[in-house]
């Protein structure tokens, strides 16, 4: 089938303002949007720039806005868009460096601010630390995060204010707060109990809807809110 691609373009070395370029390409319904971008880059315009690596939705490189929603280009098949018009734009809320490439540093800075690593100073046993199947299940959902930023950059609260740590950072915190082997949950809750922590979340759900890993992001945030409210990690 023939599809009409409209792609956001901005080259800081020549453009003052961004613009959109249009391409018509022949596509298979099972093609990924990423395949189309590669095709455009390879055949029409080599300057088109975007990040990608794994091409099957697991590395988190290619978050972009496809027809107005945050998606991974490699996980979005043409047939699922249900239209032959495809609009591709960079994710919102981060500075655009070139075309579809945004500066991810503010996103990672927020991630780092919630102590996203296991903290447990007790000397470990000789073998593994034990953890029951239920305890492991408790935080399974949030271990899936690939830091693609689809969630954070779909959140109107994050658009409003980049100091909001954002759903991805809260997901990372959740993964450790609810890990029975971790000992710094209280510390993380203290960090998130702040003007720019969980209270900037107004349960807008764009994050959950955007997450390519199908993580229940809002639920994770809700559980963190509740842990703060009740003083219990359960």
């Amino acid at each position: 089938m023939q599809v009409k691609l409209k792609i956001f373009r901005y080259n800081p070395e020549v453009d003052k303002k961004p613009h959109y370029d249009k391409y018509e390409v022949e596509a298979d319904p099972t093609d990924r949007v990423l395949d189309l971008l590669e095709y455009v880059k390879g055949n029409f315009d080599g300057t088109l720039s975007f990040r990608r690596s794994c091409a099957h939705g697991i590395c988190g490189s290619d978050a972009m806005r496809i027809n107005g929603r945050n998606r991974l280009a490699c996980k979005m098949l043409v047939k699922e868009l249900g239209t032959d018009k495809i609009l591709v734009e960079p994710i919102l809320g981060l500075p655009v460096i070139k075309d579809l490439i945004v500066d991810m540093e503010p996103f990672f800075a927020n991630y780092r601010s919630v102590l996203p690593y296991l903290i447990n100073d007790e000397p470990p046993p000789k073998k593994e630390r034990l953890q029951s199947i239920e305890e492991r299940e408790r935080f399974d959902d949030t271990t899936k995060c690939i830091l693609c930023a689809c969630c954070t950059t779909s959140c109107p609260s994050y658009w409003a204010n980049e100091q909001y740590v954002g759903p991805a950072a809260i997901v990372a915190a959740h993964r450790f707060i609810f890990d029975s082997r971790d000992r710094a949950g209280a510390e993380r809750l203290r960090i998130l109990n702040d003007q720019f922590g969980v209270y900037r979340c107004h349960t807008i759900f764009n994050c959950t809807e955007a997450c390519p890993r199908e993580i229940q992001v809002t639920k994770a945030i809700g559980e963190v809110k509740r842990a703060i409210a009740t003083g219990k990690i359960e």
Binding site: N161, Q163, G185, I228, G231, K232, I233
Partner: protein, 146 residues
């Protein structure tokens, strides 16, 4: 295996306002039911017996703010008396307090969504606080005076 240290509830301002917003929302819901029932008991049902439609605009006003003014402005005679006692005044003042605090805090939240930590924040918080005091005072006066 030792267990995780339990977190302390950190009573930050943001936390308390968050809780307050939820609780006051719930409370207003509850109070509105009481107001609604009261409105029926004291006057609205007259319409029904008169084979006429309930003036829902008025009913809603009575529900949220059972103020004799609101009642007087309607064409139901002699029911204003029913509202003119201490119980309904306390009801009104509670709703007034919850509503304005909830609402003014909401205003603060909305504004602070869009600004950073700065002197501006302090200033706006001050202004909203003043506004809150004024509206509350005016409101209580109106209730008392009617």
């Amino acid at each position: 295996m030792s267990s995780r240290p339990a977190p302390q509830i950190g009573f930050s301002f943001e936390y308390m306002m968050w809780i307050f917003t939820r609780l006051s929302g719930l409370a207003m819901f509850l109070l509105s039911f009481i107001g609604f029932a009261g409105a029926f008991w004291l006057g609205a049902r007259m319409y029904l017996t008169n084979n006429s439609f309930v003036d829902i605009g008025a009913l809603a006003r009575w529900t949220f703010f059972p103020n004799p003014n609101h009642v007087v402005n309607t064409n139901i005679p002699d029911v204003a008396v029913g509202w003119a006692n201490a119980w309904w005044q306390i009801m009104q003042i509670t709703i007034l307090f919850l509503g304005t605090t909830h609402g003014m805090n909401g205003l603060r939240v909305v504004i602070e969504d869009y600004i950073d930590r700065s002197w501006l924040r302090t200033l706006l918080r001050g202004l909203i606080f003043l506004l809150w005091i004024f509206v509350m005072l005016f409101g209580i006066y109106v209730i008392q005076a009617s």
